[in-house]
């Protein structure tokens, strides 16, 4: 039983190993798989869209393409922080219902791209409710710091791709 779960964890770690773009929200560090990141842009004027959850800040014009932007702080029920010059929008691409869609995520600041090895990754902690952890792929311990590896498809998918407005 124990051996099996350890083996599973190791397997999972191996699968998750790779390059991550790390960023911070408050005091926490997060990472997203580099392959889903399209670009990083400074914060720009966001057009609010009515009747959407508060964490959906609205839409922006990304070189002629309109893409939605969500605020990760609000998404994770953290306190709102005024946007400043370090605030960034990470544009990620996730698989939508029919085609890949691009979505912007507002974060406090972008740190660096880290190469995270399988051995550094641990499974997400159980925090009681599963909804808290199901966005998390795993926890990476790099140079004594903990990075929370996010499952972008879930984070974005939950907020946008499922039809959250059902009138």
């Amino acid at each position: 039983m124990e051996a099996a779960s350890v083996a599973q964890n190791l397997g999972q770690g191996a699968e998750l190993a790779g390059k991550y773009l790390t960023f911070s929200l408050g005091k926490e560090d997060y990472g997203v798989g580099i392959l889903s990141v399209r670009e990083i842009i400074g914060v720009m004027e966001i057009t609010a869209v009515p009747h959407t959850p508060s964490y959906i800040k609205g839409v922006i014009n990304l070189r002629g393409k309109v893409i939605p932007v969500l605020d990760l702080r609000l998404k994770f029920s953290m306190n709102h922080k005024e946007y400043d010059e370090r605030t960034c929008i990470i544009v990620v691409e996730v698989q939508g219902q029919t085609a890949p869609v691009q979505v912007g995520m507002v974060v406090d600041s972008v740190s660096e791209v880290l190469n995270i090895a399988a051995g550094e990754i641990e499974p997400p902690p159980s925090l009681g409710s599963s909804s808290e952890t199901e966005n998390i792929l795993g926890m990476a311990k790099v140079k004594g710091e903990v990075k929370i590896l996010l499952d972008v498809d879930r984070v974005v998918g939950e907020g946008l791709l499922q039809q959250f407005v059902s009138q």
Partner: protein
């Protein structure tokens, strides 16, 4: 929960819509229905699908396969019963998989009437998986279920093989009826066959790759479907048999071995030569028609299937080479079409278009080698050459052109540039404008096709329906040239057929009855298309009996949809027929077809962000109006400011704008605010309120109101300021879909502005 549930109800809606389309004798649609049902089977069904529905689907599939095999009558009654079964499945889905015994019993009773008896216990899942459950209950039904689940090809293949020569002779004049469709089919078929070849060769490398098997299966399926539709019986039968063989492989009933690969390749070649021959017939007349003997193939396939259950399949040598081989090689060199003149692909039929999507995978365009072969025929003029383009590339082009137009107007409006008084610059600018607008038109037209082809199919439908029912019906079509987004053509076809059928079946009475009430004995059905207010409108009007509003009201009260003393207009009452399950229980509304209600039409239209309404006068006729958005259209809009936000209101909906006079402003106790505009009371909608933004003005008499009209309803939208008029490109909001917002656009300063969807805004306020 509701989210996870949606795909299932969508699937069931599709099934319901499909079953409406079935005519006895048209097996290709039954095949499509089978495909849909397969998505509901255990293992394929969307997550959260209640077990009972999966078991219902298994039974449904069994019955359907028996119909295809001819063991059950291919009759309208049976399809009606199947339709009721679908309704019961929908009902079960709405009740979250707890349908209660009544529905289960109804389902079983209907199945029994069709000739597919089953026990309620099996459905409820109390005796284990369905097939064994039925077995315990009834030995006979087990064997039936087994053979129902077995592929249906064996019998037809044997039964039809001797008849080949005779039936294809009589098929000859038949398939030449629709030369346009045929030309489209030929082109598609070649592409499909090429993709089959490439995929088969790939499969030899990795025989277990399910994706590749599916990629081979799908083109066969499409060819089967479309050829059936076009009455190309020989092709249809061969494709059908091969498809069944592949289906076995797909379901793991037999392995994909070299025997199967061989037969698939030779069948592909044979089909190619047959299609080649059809092309020849199309260009040079029916005298060139060659009959192809496919009995050898069918026998081979049957043999493979029978031997393939458990025993090792025969070695490739045991597959006798079909006599066609030499001919195939001759014709192979003429398989590519000249494509000097690139044209947008125009889909001739929904089936073909669906096929086009099926092969839109990157693999479909890989067989570059075959394109290099010399084309033997002298560029036929009749079959327009076309290039298939990835829709994404097209979208990118349209997007880029849209941006170009915006940038151009930005440059022109630049303060420094506009001060330059150089005649050459002015001339160059207008030349540039001409070029960009030409470019824009072309880019847009690539995605748009006239609705004519969809309409034309209605001619046949109405003719068939009127012949069958003994009614005299004239179909008058207007605006067939109206262009519609190519993607929408496919999706609008099914609901349109349903509504046309309603109008002819239920709206128009038999000639004698019509004469009695003083109407001409020939009924008239109008089918109109036109553009209005950034929307595509399709109207179906008949001069038949109309809806019986009184009965609808009674029914609605019975079902608790309206209170007994509710004051509803006839219009509102009539539109109750679009509610789910409304017309299913009792055929009171004259618009129930197969026990599947008009709600499937409504849902299909709403999926396109459209709307459907009915206006009807008892005794005089009904008018169904479908309103569809013109996706990707550039619309003319007025930009308004509300607080810090800017919104775009489609110009065509705007009647006037004004700063209201205090004396025209009134409130009705508890019913909101109104404005007297030229003698009419128009309700005021405070945009800032429904969009939740801070506005500059909160008193309507300080602000500006824009009077808009949408589907006969007038509203005064309260805004802070009018900023100007601009042509804007509608863009979707990248996954966000909210009521009241039709999309976004990039404004002159690069920010995104939201385009109002007036229907949504008005409905929003009404809630």
């Amino acid at each position: 929960m509701a989210v996870g549930h949606k795909p299932l109800s969508d699937l069931l809606d599709e099934v319901a819509l499909k079953i409406l389309m079935i005519e006895p004798g048209d097996l290709s649609i039954v095949g499509e229905l089978l495909d849909l049902i397969e998505k509901l089977l255990p293992g394929h069904a969307p997550a959260n699908t209640p077990g009972v529905i999966q078991r219902m689907a298994v039974a449904f599939k069994g019955a359907l396969e028996k119909l295809i095999m001819g063991e059950l009558a291919d009759s309208a009654e049976n399809y009606d019963l199947l339709g009721q079964c679908v309704t019961e499945m929908q009902e079960s889905s709405r009740k979250e998989g707890q349908p209660g015994e009544k529905i289960i019993e109804q389902f079983c009773a209907n199945m029994k009437k069709i000739g597919f008896p089953m026990e309620t216990a099996a459905l409820l899942g109390t005796t284990g998986p369905v097939s064994t459950g039925m077995g315990k209950a009834d030995d006979e039904s087990l064997s039936e279920a087994e053979c129902a689940l077995a592929p249906p090809q064996i019998k037809p293949a044997q039964a039809q093989a001797p008849a080949t020569a005779g039936s294809s002779q009589e098929a000859l004049p038949d398939f030449l009826q629709d030369t346009d469709l045929l030309a489209g089919f030929i082109e598609e078929a070649f592409e499909h066959l090429e993709s089959i070849e490439v995929n088969v060769l790939e499969l030899e490398q990795s025989p277990d790759d399910q994706d590749i098997i599916n990629n081979i299966f799908r083109p066969f399926h499409t060819i089967k479907g479309v050829s059936g539709f076009l009455n190309l019986k020989t092709i249809n039968r061969l494709a059908h048999a091969t498809e069944n063989l592949l289906d076995d492989v797909r379901n793991g009933k037999r392995a994909m071995d070299s025997a199967v690969i061989d037969i698939v390749l030779t069948v592909g070649d044979a089909l190619k030569s047959m299609v080649e021959n059809i092309k020849d017939v199309l260009q040079n007349g029916p005298a060139n028609y060659k009959d192809t003997d496919i009995s050898g193939f069918l026998a081979n396939i049957t043999q493979l299937q029978e031997g393939g259950a458990g025993a090792p399949p025969p070695e490739p040598v045991s597959v006798p080479a079909p006599d066609l081989q030499p001919e195939v090689f001759e014709s192979e060199e003429v398989e590519t079409l000249a494509s000097e003149e690139a044209q947008a692909v125009v889909s001739p039929s929904p089936a073909i278009a669906r096929g086009a999507q099926a092969v839109a995978s990157p693999r479909a365009d890989t067989p570059a080698s075959s394109a290099a072969r010399p084309s033997a025929d002298a560029a036929p003029k009749k079959i327009g050459a076309s290039i298939k383009v990835d829709v994404e590339k097209l979208d990118a082009l349209v997007n880029a052109v849209g941006e170009l137009v915006i940038m151009q107007s930005l440059v022109r409006q630049n303060r420094l540039v506009s001060r330059i008084a150089d005649p050459k610059l002015t001339r160059d600018f207008s030349q540039l404008t001409r070029i960009t607008s030409e470019l824009q038109r072309t880019a847009m037209s690539m995605r748009m096709v006239p609705i004519k082809q969809t309409f034309d199919k209605m001619i046949r439908l109405v003719r068939d329906l009127s012949k069958k029912s003994g009614k005299k019906v004239d179909l008058i079509m207007e605006g067939a040239d109206t262009e519609i987004d190519r993607n929408m053509v496919d999706s609008i076809y099914d609901p349109l057929v349903h509504m046309m059928r309603n109008s002819v079946d239920h709206g128009i009475s038999p000639p004698a009855d019509r004469e009695k009430v003083g109407k001409p004995e020939t009924g008239t059905v109008f089918l109109r298309a036109y553009q209005k207010g950034g929307s595509m409108m399709i109207e179906i009007e008949d001069d038949g009996e109309g809806l019986n509003t009184g009965k609808i009201r009674k029914k609605a009260i019975e079902r608790g949809l309206v209170g007994e003393f509710d004051n509803l207009s006839d219009f509102e009452l009539n539109n109750l027929i679009f509610l789910p399950g409304f017309s299913t229980a009792d055929k009171i509304t004259d618009v129930s077809g197969r026990g599947v209600g008009m709600d499937v039409v409504k849902k299909a239209v709403e999926k396109l962000r459209g709307k459907v309404e009915v206006q009807s006068q008892s005794g005089k006729g009904s008018l169904f109006v479908i309103r569809l958005p013109l996706t990707l259209a550039i619309i003319d809009g007025i930009i308004v400011r509300v607080g810090s936000e800017r919104y775009i209101i489609p110009t065509i909906a705007i009647q006037e704008s004004m700063r209201p006079d205090r004396k025209n402003y009134s409130t009705v106790h508890g019913r909101g605010e109104n404005l007297l505009v030229r003698g009419d009371l128009v309700p005021i909608i405070r945009l800032y309120e429904i969009f939740g933004v801070q506005s500059t003005y909160t008193d309507p008499c300080d602000a500006i109101v824009v009077v808009v009209e949408n589907e006969g309803r007038r509203r005064a939208l309260m805004v802070d300021e009018l900023l100007g008029k601009e042509e804007v490109v509608i863009k979707n909001l990248g996954g966000i879909d909210v009521p009241g917002v039709a999309g976004g656009t990039i404004l002159g300063d690069g920010r995104v502005g939201l385009i109002l969807d007036l229907a949504g805004v008005i409905a929003n306020k009404a809630d």
